[in-house]
């Protein structure tokens, strides 16, 4: 369970995030939607203890994220390409992340093997460094790295952007499977309303740092979202 309480973030006098209370139960697939500058990435960065909130705190499975680092062992995340190590090959990168998450090389190899279809033959064994891969392929590698080591919480910022249609569909399938057993909590943000309604059972709309909608996904959700953003 992720519990966020009175989280605000101010830069000077400008407030970019102000979320009074947000609770994401274990096993939920949670979608964060909003225009540019709505505070999605800021929220994720605070959740990952990459920036400090001006006030409030977030607990991730009873761990206050900026007080203990225990959450790191069960949280996998991919925010953007700067999470990749450009001079490694994808295999080496997976091995590195796997190492940090207590997997040996064989574990990593067998885990990665599941994603052969997802990679579509463009990631593994290509003799290319991550920095030389296309944006979409970098993203594929980053997403899979976030899933290494059976994390209880998976955080993906804009996972659908830059992906080709086939991979988008495969990613949706993967994310749905993850939350099937109600064990893994998945948090995604997206600009693509239809993807997010497909994957997430709950969607929160942020606008200028404030939660303006919080809804269970249903038949009408997509319509409602579209009318909300059609200004």
């Amino acid at each position: 369970m992720i519990h966020s309480k009175n989280i605000t973030k101010k830069y000077g006098s400008a407030e970019v995030l102000n979320i009074e209370e947000l609770t994401i139960p274990k096993g939920q697939s949670f979608g964060l939607v909003g225009n540019n500058g709505a505070g999605k990435t800021t929220f994720f960065n605070i959740l990952l203890d990459l920036i400090r909130p001006t006030s409030g705190e977030i607990t991730n499975h009873d761990v206050v994220v900026n007080q203990s680092e225990a959450w790191k062992s069960f949280t996998g995340s991919f925010i953007d390409e700067t999470f990749l190590i450009g001079y490694l090959t994808p295999e080496e990168y997976f091995e590195f992340i796997g190492d940090l998450r207590g997997m040996n090389k064989a574990d990593v190899t067998s885990f990665i093997a599941q994603f052969e279809e997802f990679f579509n033959g463009e990631i593994l064994g290509k003799k290319k460094y991550l920095r030389d891969l296309s944006k979409g392929n970098q993203k594929k590698a980053g997403i899979v790295a976030a899933l290494l080591g059976n994390p209880q919480v998976v955080i993906l910022d804009e996972p659908f952007a830059n992906l080709d249609p086939t991979t988008q569909i495969r990613l949706k399938k993967t994310l749905k499977e993850l939350t099937q057993n109600k064990e893994v909590t998945v948090l995604v943000s997206s600009h693509d309303l239809s993807h997010v309604t497909d994957v997430c059972e709950r969607i929160v709309v942020l606008d200028k740092g404030v939660v303006v909608k919080d809804m269970e996904t249903s038949q009408e959700t997509l319509k409602e979202l579209e009318s909300h953003f059609a200004v």
Binding site: L50, K72, T89, E92, E95, D99, K128, D132
Partner: protein
């Protein structure tokens, strides 16, 4: 149209990260640039008189002439290794309504002013001025100077033609080494050939038309080839190097440090700038030769100790001072992983210590200069491992400048701040100062023992200091993440 291009160049230059620096750094770099130019200029001005003094029987111009052929070949090889035609920055212009011929003229024309062509002028022009002042035939000297400038430009354009060709490089290298070899063993004297060519030129400046013709020809060849290659899959292609993966599983024995050590090795080997730093640290081993061979320094042990610290300190100093900025690009990711900061930092300490040890072993031949020198190097090495590693790790937590690993390595100062200059005080001046204090009152051995003891204390109390450093890194985490996110 060309004024537009010129404006673009202007902006590119003054908006480059080169100028986005603090004032202090700009001033220091400005001084350095002026110093370099002044030294080249004075070389140009004084070489005439130096040559005259050392070889009173020979005509200085003829002496220079006899080596010019080597200079031309050497220049070509140097260019082959270092100079590339800057085609990438016309990529955005390709889809605009600009004639391709114009783009090609622009790229080629721009290369005329590249630093590779300007540098040698600092020698040739003052040398020619001195020649004229010393009463050489003005027409002859001007012809000679024009030829030298034209030949430099010919080298410029020849390089772009042969640059993609390894055979050309090896033939050049073989010709150069071959002639030097033949010269050395007295089989064939290329200096005579060189001298007769360029002496003839001074006598008959009209021959200057030959390099003019050559230059025009080379330009046309370049123009034609490049015009046919202005495509994204040809000349304007980002070169993608094939990944070479080396098995580093031997590093697994380092336990929790292993993933970091493996990563660090790849970091160093696969990025230009880190690789340059790594290779440079081996050159630093030779630094002592400058000091140990000169009589002047024999009675200045403080200077010798200074040099001794450098001999084994190349890696610690150059690599260590940019920890953890080397990893600025993905520092965020590291901080969101389940890592032990302690092991992360320890892996860096370990790497620096190993490298210092290797450099120390490589420095063994310094025994030739006597036991005193060798002991100085040993004391310096111990100080580097014991103290400098820790000081630099601690100082690293103050690093707030992002480093782009993909940028070139040579003379790249990205990530440099005033801190990099201040750090010289504890890592270089303090040990020299302490040495000098003990040396002054108690003699050479006492001075060396003092430095070595400091290093030893650092080594023994490493645990204590590593704890402090780790705490500091944890405290500064957010500031570092924030700063590393800002593109330099």
């Amino acid at each position: 149209m060309f004024t537009q291009f010129f404006k673009l160049e202007w902006k590119q230059y003054f908006r480059s990260s080169y100028w986005q620096k603090g004032l202090a750094l700009k001033i220091i770099m400005g001084f350095f640039a002026v110093y370099m130019m002044a030294s080249f200029l004075s070389l140009g001005i004084f070489s005439f008189f130096i040559l005259k003094k050392t070889m009173p029987d020979a005509d200085p111009l003829q002496t220079v002439n006899s080596f010019l052929l080597f200079a031309v070949f050497g220049d070509l090889i140097f260019r082959y290794l270092m100079q590339k035609l800057p085609v990438m920055n016309i990529k955005p212009l390709l889809i605009l309504p600009v004639k391709k011929t114009k783009l090609v003229h622009y790229v080629l024309g721009k290369s005329v002013f590249s630093a590779f062509n300007i540098f040698s002028l600092f020698f040739y022009i003052p040398f020619a001025v001195v020649l004229m002042k010393e009463g050489y035939d003005v027409g002859g000297v001007l012809g000679w100077l024009a030829t030298m400038i034209l030949l430099t430009q010919c080298g410029n354009f020849t390089n772009f033609i042969i640059n993609k060709n390894n055979i050309a490089f090896w033939s050049l290298a073989i010709i150069l080494i071959g002639t030097i070899g033949l010269q050395y063993f007295g089989i064939y004297d290329a200096t005579t050939l060189s001298q007769s060519i360029f002496d003839g030129l001074v006598a008959n400046p009209i021959y200057t038309v030959i390099p003019v013709g050559l230059l025009i020809l080379l330009y046309l060849v370049n123009f034609k080839t490049l015009k046919g290659q202005l495509f994204l899959d040809d000349a304007i292609k980002e070169k993608v190097k094939e990944a070479n993966t080396v098995d580093l599983s031997w590093a697994n024995r380092f336990g929790e440090m292993a993933p970091f050590i493996k990563n660090e090795i790849r970091l160093i080997w696969r990025n230009k700038r880190t690789k340059t730093v790594f290779l440079m640290s081996f050159l630093f081993v030779l630094y002592g030769l400058i000091f140990f061979t000169q009589e002047t320094y024999k009675n200045m042990p403080a200077m010798l100790v200074f040099a001794s610290i450098f001999v084994t300190g190349g890696f610690v100093l150059n690599y260590g001072q940019f920890i953890p900025a080397w990893e600025s690009a993905y520092y965020k990711m590291l901080m969101s992983q389940n890592i032990s900061y302690r092991k992360y930092l320890e892996s860096k300490w370990f790497l620096m210590s190993i490298m210092t040890t290797i450099l120390f072993v490589l420095a063994t031949p310094y025994l030739y200069f006597g036991l005193d020198i060798y002991l100085m190097i040993a004391a310096g090495a111990l100080f580097n491992v014991g103290c400098n590693t820790l000081v630099l790790l601690y100082a690293g937590s103050f690093n707030r400048k992002q480093i782009d690993l993909n940028a070139s390595g040579f003379g790249n100062t990205q990530g440099t701040s005033a801190k990099q200059f201040i750090i010289i005080i504890p890592v270089m001046l303090v040990p020299v100062g302490i040495f000098y204090g003990f040396y002054f009152f108690l003699g050479l051995n006492a001075g060396l023992i003092a430095i070595a003891t400091l290093g030893f204390i650092g080594l023994v109390s490493r645990n204590y200091f590593m704890n402090i450093i780790t705490q500091k890194y944890i405290r500064d985490k957010y500031a570092a993440i924030h700063a590393f996110n800002q593109k330099a």
